[in-house]
Symmetry: C2
Subunit: 312 residues, 2 copies
């Protein structure tokens, strides 16, 4: 499908792309760049890349698909650095969780003849680094492309075909709409998860040891996404400010209404809000975006014995 | 261990107790009460109980362990109803998620000679009803007992032994401390989960279909606990008002600080808060309270192929 894919950044997402490219033979060759020597060595040792370079410009040289897979805060500098080394006709894409800021930071550096098509696979785990990736991460997940108005349809289709080969469904939308959608489906959930873990850590009357022991009451669910890469998430929030603040404002308003219902003992309001949530859960399961198994299928799903349990 | 256990309410928790009592032979006989005829039939059909009654007073008659397993808002009326039918020397306990209000509502009705020992197994799933229970739900989970000052140590130990037989670790504490601990480890997480699902459902610019499609970015994690039983959770919030409002106040303060950091582009504050969360996650995994598998081990853990993925 491609001659040479260059991965700029080899963490969870970059390494998962490498696994799929190998497994599905989507390119003849993979080159890579990572900022740290440790990551470069590990990527080489794991066979994720054929050649790994200490500069991004070297890594992209000759590649017909370049994927930016580092935290989005690094994209501007990287784009400036690689611009002159990009091969005419190459596709330059990325996997960043925000899209408006990526267009803002990258587009000005892209030379004529290079197809810049921002993208975002909605997939991942809470783990980070080159060892965290695995084949099939993108299967049955959505990948959103946000091509600019003047993008060449054939290049967009070529990139879409790459993601479909990895098992993804592909949607296209504007960067602005992407950032709004992801603000509610991803950014706000992460912010809230980080926040409640932080609130719990600061308590005086309840010890950290108690929070840990009794976390099966629901808290532990939040700690998973709050264990995600802090650099990546810092960059997300710095680069999707407006949409996140908008969603956060709505969330806080709604939370104040719940708070008021609790204070005034308004059970009917509480029940009505709680009662409609099951519908969305059912929709997510029906759409194949989560497991139907109780408690995410934690533990041994077939016996139920010694199954770690959920919430009370 | 007991001659006859009476389950007052046969939902997720009541039915899971029944499974363990059968499997581990913790009682010679199980009687049950459920408000609805449908639940009574189902409990009988599933073999969860030996005899099921349409009134709680009949169900507790002759039992040496009575477990209240219905939503905590029903306990006061139930206690009044069963008081005269309780066998002298019996243990009366419960599985409610709040403890102060349970003492307030139940204790006044308990006749002399009956051992009232409130309890709370920190276990469950997002599923409800008599079919949701399974053997082993309580294994490796904590069960908190909140005996009153005048409780008989032998009776407390007998109840503790019952929970240990189910595989639980048993702690004792005051009802007040329980309610504070659970407010942060369980009640606030559920409230926040319900709230973000509600916020998402009310958006105009982002459709429900988009929220569902792209939920693997993190949102789907919240929908699981927001699919929990609305009646049970209404009663929790109505009956642990002070502690929940206290934790909610802290959460909102902390969230305002994060909001401010986002608005002013303060990446260092964001990074520092995000960076300390991994420690608590590690503690939870080390304590055996969650799986170490990425993404809660969703999907096929061994191949990684077609594995539903997590967050971005």
């Amino acid at each position: 499908m491609f001659e040479r894919i260059a991965l700029i950044g080899i963490g969870l997402i970059g390494s998962s792309i490498a696994h799929d490219v190998r497994r599905l033979r989507l390119a003849a060759e993979i080159t890579g760049y990572a900022r740290s020597e440790a990551t470069r060595s590990k990527a080489h040792e794991l066979g994720l890349v054929d050649r790994v370079y200490p500069t991004a410009a070297e890594a992209v040289s000759g590649a017909d698909l370049v994927m930016l897979c580092s935290p989005v805060g690094t994209y501007g500098d990287l784009a400036r650095e690689i611009a002159a080394a990009l091969r005419p006709g190459a596709i330059l894409s990325d996997v960043g969780s925000v899209k408006g800021a990526v267009v803002r930071d990258v587009a000005p550096h892209v030379p004529a003849g290079v197809h810049f098509i921002p993208g975002h696979p909605i997939a991942g785990t809470e783990q980070s680094g080159p060892e965290a990736g695995f084949p099939g991460l993108f299967a049955n997940r959505w990948c959103i492309l946000t091509p600019l108005a003047d993008a060449e349809p054939a290049a967009v289709e070529r990139l879409a075909a790459f993601w479909r080969a990895c098992g993804s469904n592909v949607d296209t939308m504007t960067p602005e709409h992407h950032d709004l959608v992801l603000a509610i489906t991803s950014h706000l959930p992460h912010l809230i998860a980080y926040n409640i873990v932080s609130t719990a850590a600061d308590l005086e009357e309840v010890t950290s040891s108690e929070v840990i022991k009794y976390s099966a009451g629901g808290f532990r669910d939040f700690t998973r996404i709050a264990a995600s890469d802090p650099t990546m998430w810092r960059d997300v929030f710095l680069n999707n400010k407006e949409a996140v603040l908008e969603m956060l404002g709505r969330f806080s308003e709604d939370l104040s209404a719940l708070q008021r219902a609790i204070r005034w003992g308004d059970g009917e309001t509480l029940f009505n809000i709680f009662n409609r949530s099951r519908q969305i859960r059912r929709g997510i399961i029906a759409a194949g975006q989560d497991t139907a198994a109780p408690d995410f299928g934690r533990g041994q799903p077939n016996t139920g014995l010694n199954k770690p349990a959920g919430d009370r």
